[in-house]
Amino acid sequence: MRILVVEDDKDVAGFVVKGLREAGHTVEHADNGRDGLFLAASENFDAIILDRMLPGGIDGLRLLETLRAQDNVTPVVFLSALSQVDDRVKGLKAGGDDYLTKPFAFAELLARVEALTRRGKTDGPTTRLAVGDLEIDLLSRGVRRAGQKIDLQPREFRLLEYLMRHAGQVVTRTMLLEGVWDYHFDPQTNVIDVHVSRLRQKIDKPFDLPLLHTVRNAGYMLRAEDV
């Protein structure tokens, strides 16, 4: 994937660029708003990682608003030290697709960027999702694995649906919290782990090949092959 990083802090930018390249992406970097806007508007990217406070007269919000005004729909992840609820709302209102506050874990950033780019591709009228021999029907809310019917609670179904929509990608606990439950706080207990392990009991336990994998220090991944 081709990713643009607009970030003025040298260390953070260097770290992000290196990490993204290691993950197999092509990365362009701009260290101010003006260059960032120029690059974003003139070239094609699969995703943009955007800081809010930037030198060069154009801050992140302005940059994104200008971009969206030109009908550019490239997915944008804000990466900002502005962490208040209002800041997040502002970022999303300006057209941001996700908002991550600094300091951040690189795994979280990577997972979110990859999730966004995938979302752009599969946002069609899908009614069926399948990973390996596991398939779900979004209309009838039915789940089958190897032809065998699996009963899920509504919330378990939504958890599975989210994981399947991001099959092959790392999904962090925060992403699940926000994507499945729409919660924007950090529970002190391992709630997400418990829910995932219950889902695993139902979809993986009776079968030979595990589909739901735990990715150390990052989150979970649903995929047919071994990680």
């Binding site: 962490s83 609820v85 209002d86 919660y183 924007h184 706080f185 002190q188 418990v194």
Partner: protein, 483 residues
């Protein structure tokens, strides 16, 4: 300030402290008040003097006038009935009876010769243009002021009837002078009074200004002394003292929080630092190094979480989120959270008993309510021993939503319960557990943002946290009131 004085003369731009100039007197509230008061007082005194004048001098004058006219009419009757002789007799008779020596008569023939009367000569101002005069006349006793009425009789005779009004003129002058004096004294008293009132004013606000000045210099322990009179200034002193108490409390809070931050963050920062340094010095394999770095990163993540929580509490307490308030039903939100935590409770061998009596309409911030309830449940789960139960109940009670979360854990001792909602406070029994000591502080902040309360009670055993929020029972129009 010192720097500006010792600065070389070339630095013209250095701002000098403004010279303390004598304030114009009119800028003094006391003087202004006194002047206004003196003006009002002067005007009313003037009104009083005027009415006094009118009712004494004016009345006297009118009485004299009536007496002269009656006298004149009677003499005219004498002339009409008995002719000139009768008139002369009548005048002479009256002059003899004139005990007060204030009556004046003068009768002249057509050639202006005096026939009768007590005037030496025809008064010079009596020209015949009018019929009533107030003139200086020459009498045998000397010159005097008199009110005269001139009558033209048949046959060219002319009669003047009058009264000596010297005494009454003197009275008038006396009154005039008296009033002028009074005015003078009044203005002097007004000016003196202005200064007296000013100094009174100053004395009354002296305590307040001394206290506030001391406070602005940094001495927050000072309070405005109350005189005990129960007057307006006492009331003001009370209000100011209340405000100062509040400020002191806030300052103490800030100080406590800064201390806590310093203390509570120093520990994990030290741990992270030690781990990294230790790894740099002693790690023998890349794996050791990696694990040390990972653990230090975890420590830093913990520090970040504390910061986030602190910022969030500050954000809530600032009240900025109130603009995002919207009406919603709390019941489904609680059901969701119940479902969210149910699995964890089961996993830990704890029963989560829920009793939600919806609908529970609230005007508020959905995310914050979620977080508050989640914090309370997190706490309950953290302190609940195996094989106990946690109850989550919610219902409408007297126009408010009462949300109660009770566990059967160790609870919080009565002494600690009041402090449990303070930032970083951790009860003795919680020292060994994980946590930042910010959970309940956040819940309390959320409660007060929604003009609700968080109460902590003994659950015999355990802790019962009761979150009371005002229910939104009115129609949609009324929602505006809470914004």
């Amino acid at each position: 300030m010192k720097a500006s004085r010792t600065a070389p003369a070339t630095t013209v731009l250095v701002q000098r402290p403004p010279k303390k100039r004598a304030k114009p007197l009119i800028r003094s509230a006391g003087i202004r008040l006194a002047l206004v008061y003196a003006t009002v007082f002067g005007l009313s005194a003037f009104a009083l003097a005027f009415s006094l004048w009118y009712s004494t001098v004016g009345l006297l004058q009118r009485q004299v006038e009536v007496a002269i006219r009656n006298d004149g009419a009677a003499l005219q009757d004498h002339f009409a009935v008995g002719g000139i002789q009768s008139l002369i007799l009548a005048i002479q008779g009256r002059l003899q009876d004139n005990i007060d020596n204030d009556a004046i008569y003068m009768l002249v023939d057509p050639l202006n010769n005096r026939i009768a009367g007590n005037l030496i000569a025809w008064p010079p101002g009596l020209t015949g243009a009018s019929d009533e005069y107030q003139l200086t006349v020459n009498r045998s006793t000397g010159s005097s002021v008199a009110m005269l009425v001139d009558y033209h009789l048949q046959g060219g005779y002319q009669l003047v009837v009058g009264r000596d009004v010297r005494a009454f003129t003197e009275l008038r002058h006396l009154l005039q002078a008296g009033l002028l004096w009074a005015m003078g004294i009044m203005s002097v008293l007004g000016i003196v009074g202005a200064f007296v009132i000013r100094s009174l004013f100053r004395r009354m606000i002296r305590d307040i200004s001394a206290t506030t000045r001391a406070i602005s210099r940094g001495d927050l322990t000072r309070r405005v002394p109350k005189t005990g009179d129960g007057d307006e200034f006492d009331e003001l002193a009370g209000i100011i003292n209340d405000m100062l108490d509040r400020i002191t409390k806030l300052m103490d809070g800030v100080r406590e929080v800064s201390n806590s931050i310093a203390h509570d963050l120093r520990t994990p920062i030290t741990r992270a630092r030690t781990r990294l340094e230790d790894a740099a010095l002693h790690a023998s394999s890349p794996d050791d190094l990696k694990s040390a770095i990972e653990r230090a990163t975890d420590d830093l993540d913990g520090i970040v979480a504390v910061f986030q929580a602190l910022l969030r509490i500050a954000e809530i307490e600032a009240g900025a989120r109130r603009s995002a308030f919207a009406p919603f039903d709390v019941a489904p939100l609680l059901s969701d959270i119940d479902e969210f935590y149910h699995a964890v409770a089961e996993e830990r061998g704890i029963t989560l008993v829920t009793d939600i009596a919806g609908p529970l309409p609230l005007l508020g911030d959905r995310e914050l309510i979620q977080q508050a309830v989640a914090n309370l449940l997190d706490n309950a789960l953290k302190f609940s021993p195996v094989n106990t139960s946690i109850s989550l109940t919610a219902m409408l009670h007297n126009d408010s939503i009462e949300l109660s979360i009770a566990d059967q854990g160790p609870g919080i001792s009565e002494a600690d319960r009041d402090r449990a909602t303070e930032r970083f406070f951790r009860a003795e029994s919680a020292r060994h557990t994980n946590g930042s000591g910010l959970g309940l502080a956040l819940v309390a902040a959320v409660a007060s943002l929604h003009t609700g309360t968080l109460r902590l009670r003994d659950n015999h055993p355990g802790l019962r946290a009761i979150l009371t929020l005002p229910a939104q029972l009115g129609d949609a129009v009324e929602w505006g009131r809470f914004k």
